[in-house]
């Protein structure tokens, strides 16, 4: 690993890599939620975290403060982030609808019981 990871923290600006590191933590937390939670809503929250981690990367690459003038993605970064946010909101609504329907039919939000499609 390079020296800049922790060396001059507090006196030097952070870079894209630092944002990506935070994004990675959020992403992995989200994945873990999706994998480990039995509650369908927990899984939904995991998805939100994953999207959020990805968003952080878009922002980092688009920011002029992290990569310098003209180096980054420019406006693509924030715009992609915006689309992700908007779609995440839509996705949450749809996923919640699925969860509620599942709950209506099965009296449960335990996704381990949503196994009708397995052979």
């Amino acid at each position: 690993m390079h020296h800049f990871m922790l060396a001059n923290l507090l006196t030097e600006p952070v870079g894209v890599a630092h944002y990506m590191a935070v994004g990675a933590v959020l992403f992995v937390c989200g994945v873990l939620c999706m994998a480990l939670k039995r509650n369908a809503l927990g899984v939904l929250m995991g998805i939100e975290l994953v999207l959020n981690g990805a968003n952080l990367n878009f922002i980092a690459f688009g920011s002029r403060f992290l990569r310098g003038e003209g180096q980054g993605l420019g406006l693509d970064g924030p715009l992609m982030a915006l689309f992700v946010i908007v779609l995440a909101a839509a996705e949450a609504a749809v996923a919640l609808a699925i969860v509620l329907n599942f709950y209506n039919n099965y009296d449960s939000v335990d996704i381990d019981r949503a196994d009708q499609l397995q052979g």
């Binding site: 329907n101 209506n104 039919n105 009296d107 449960s108 019981r113 009708q116």
Partner: protein, 542 residues
């Protein structure tokens, strides 16, 4: 792949197990009934209960989802039929509390599960796996004994909740307790519970002489103590066959109508409070305070007067009182327009009250409601005109029209705000409106009475002695108190102390409509409806 329907075993289905339990339980219950009940109700009940499980099983054995669903629906039909027979059994007193509880718990669990099962067929087929984990009984799903078509079912199913509104609640007017069964904001059932203010007033009445019991009548409808005094006094006078002198008669009209104004002012102000409008409450109390000042001058008390009494009143009106009273009326009358502006014709107020809690005239009569609640439904009945002779004699020669909507309009003796087009006869708005108009009418009556009183000759009446023996016999008299028909019943065995003293309260009957009026409304409508009935718990519990 699709799960083979045929290979699933219905015994593992939880709905089936519940249905079995239900069938066996009904069998055991019906076994102990008498021959008549067995032959009529029992057979039907057991057949219906058995058919629930039978149809589930039969559906499971069929080859297709369509068949299965059809039979599951038949099972649901049978379940509803079972409910019907259970209701009959309940109404014919064939079930005891423990059995009801047992049945209720099974049906409460079975009904939603069966619904879920029907919905899952095709998606889940008959897969017992979807239904084997027992999470225990769910809170409460649907009311077992009350199935109301007005209850709205959403695709997003929510759980029902039992909520205790009261006895400590800002808008239950004292210590009323309402148990609400709600689904979200929608109320499916309201059960009023009474007794939190019970003080054995009637029993006490059997240990005191009639005049000594007067203070206890004050504490029944404590917002209209004068009218309560009057009711009891007239009842005793009816037994005594006593007729007060003319001056006393007009005095009573003045006091009773002033009491009506004071009481309706509270009703109006508190109703504003129920709907979230605080200021009219204080405006109403400001005016009421002036009436209480007048009463204080008359009898020394502001709330529990014990002024009107058997034989007349405890004292004559003080000198100069009539002028003060007239001055008050002069000042008060124009203010009513403000109340109309703040409440009656306020568009939010109309939105909250018009079309809410509509009570048809038949229903109002069937429930025995009275007073403004009855007249708000368009029933032309007022004891001041339609009551017994001994009471109506008091208002003899007075010009007044009963405040009720007749031929599509209210009396036109004054200028009243127009009835909004949203309002339906018998809704909260009309009950409130009737009260407001009665205030104006009472002002008129007081004015007439003041004129008569000041020209009348003779004394104001003579209070009876405490120990005076009552003639043997009984008397019952109803008077028009501000809240409606207030009846007192008195049985005497010839001693000075009544053998029985009973009160028939108007608020009690008026309150009894709540569970019918409130079904299917929103939580916010509960204070609106209960407030429009203008109940006083002291009178209900006595």
């Amino acid at each position: 792949m699709v799960i083979g329907v045929a290979r699933t075993d219905f015994e593992k289905l939880e709905v089936y197990q519940l249905a079995e339990r239900l069938a066996d339980l009904t069998w055991r219950i019906a076994l102990h009934w008498d021959q008549m009940a067995k032959a009529t109700l029992g057979g039907q009940l057991i057949r219906a209960a058995d058919s629930v499980g039978a149809n589930i099983a039969e559906g499971c054995g069929r080859g297709s989802y369509g068949d299965n669903r059809r039979f599951a629906k038949i099972a649901r039909g049978s379940l509803y039929e079972t409910k019907h027979w259970l209701r009959r059994a309940y109404s014919r007193d064939l079930l005891d509390a423990g059995q009801i509880e047992q049945l209720r718990s099974i049906i409460d669990e079975l009904a939603p599960r069966l619904n879920a099962y029907i919905r899952s067929i095709g998606r889940a087929a008959c897969n017992p796996k979807t239904d084997t984990t027992d999470y225990g009984p769910r809170t409460t799903h649907m009311s077992t004994l009350v199935d109301d078509p007005r209850v709205i079912e959403f695709d997003v199913r929510t759980d029902e909740m039992l909520v205790n509104m009261g006895p400590q609640h800002p808008s239950t007017h004292g210590v009323l307790r309402l148990v609400l069964r709600t689904d979200g904001e929608v109320v499916s059932e309201v059960t009023p519970h009474l007794g939190y203010l019970h003080r054995c007033a009637e029993k006490i009445g059997e240990n005191l002489t009639p005049r000594q019991w007067i203070p206890y009548t004050d504490r029944m409808d404590y917002l209209a103590g004068m009218n309560m005094n009057l009711g009891w006094s007239l009842t005793v006078e009816k037994l005594l066959k006593y007729e007060p002198p003319e001056k006393g008669r007009h005095l009573r009209v003045i006091i009773a109508e002033m009491g009506r104004i004071a009481s309706h002012l509270v009703g109006m102000g508190a109703y504003g409070l129920d709907l979230g409008s605080f200021s009219p409450f204080l405006y109403a109390f400001r005016e009421r305070e002036k009436i209480l000042d007048l009463f204080e001058e008359v009898c020394g008390a502001r709330l529990t007067y014990s002024y009107l009494t058997v034989g007349g009143a405890t004292a004559d009106l003080p000198r100069g009182w009539l002028q003060k009273c007239e001055a008050f009326l002069e000042q008060f009358e124009p203010i009513i327009a403000e109340y109309h502006a703040l409440l009656t014709t306020n568009s939010i107020f109309i939105k909250r009250t018009a079309g809410i809690g509509v009570m048809s005239p038949e229903m109002a009569i069937n429930f025995g409601t009275s007073g403004p609640v009855l007249r708000g439904s368009g029933v032309d009945h007022d004891l001041r005109r339609d009551g017994e002779e001994i009471y109506t004699a008091m208002y003899d020669g007075y010009a007044f029209e009963v405040i009720v909507e007749k031929d599509g309009h209210y009396p036109k003796d004054h200028k009243y705000p127009a009835v909004p087009h949203e309002a339906v006869l018998g809704d909260c708005w009309h009950r409130f409106y009737v009260r407001m108009l009665e205030v104006v009418q009472s002002i008129d009556l007081v004015r007439q009475a003041i004129d008569r009183y000041s020209t009348a000759e003779g004394g104001y009446g003579e209070p009876r002695k405490l120990t005076e023996k009552l003639p043997k016999g009984e008397a019952y008299l109803e008077t028009e108190s501000p809240r409606g028909q207030m009846g007192f019943y008195l049985v005497s065995d010839g001693s000075s102390i009544p053998w029985r003293a009973r009160a028939r309260s108007s608020s009690f009957c008026n309150l009894s409509v709540t569970s019918d009026l409130c079904r299917g409304c929103l939580i916010a409508d509960i204070p609106a409806i209960v407030g429009s009935l203008d109940i006083v718990m002291g009178e209900i519990d006595r």
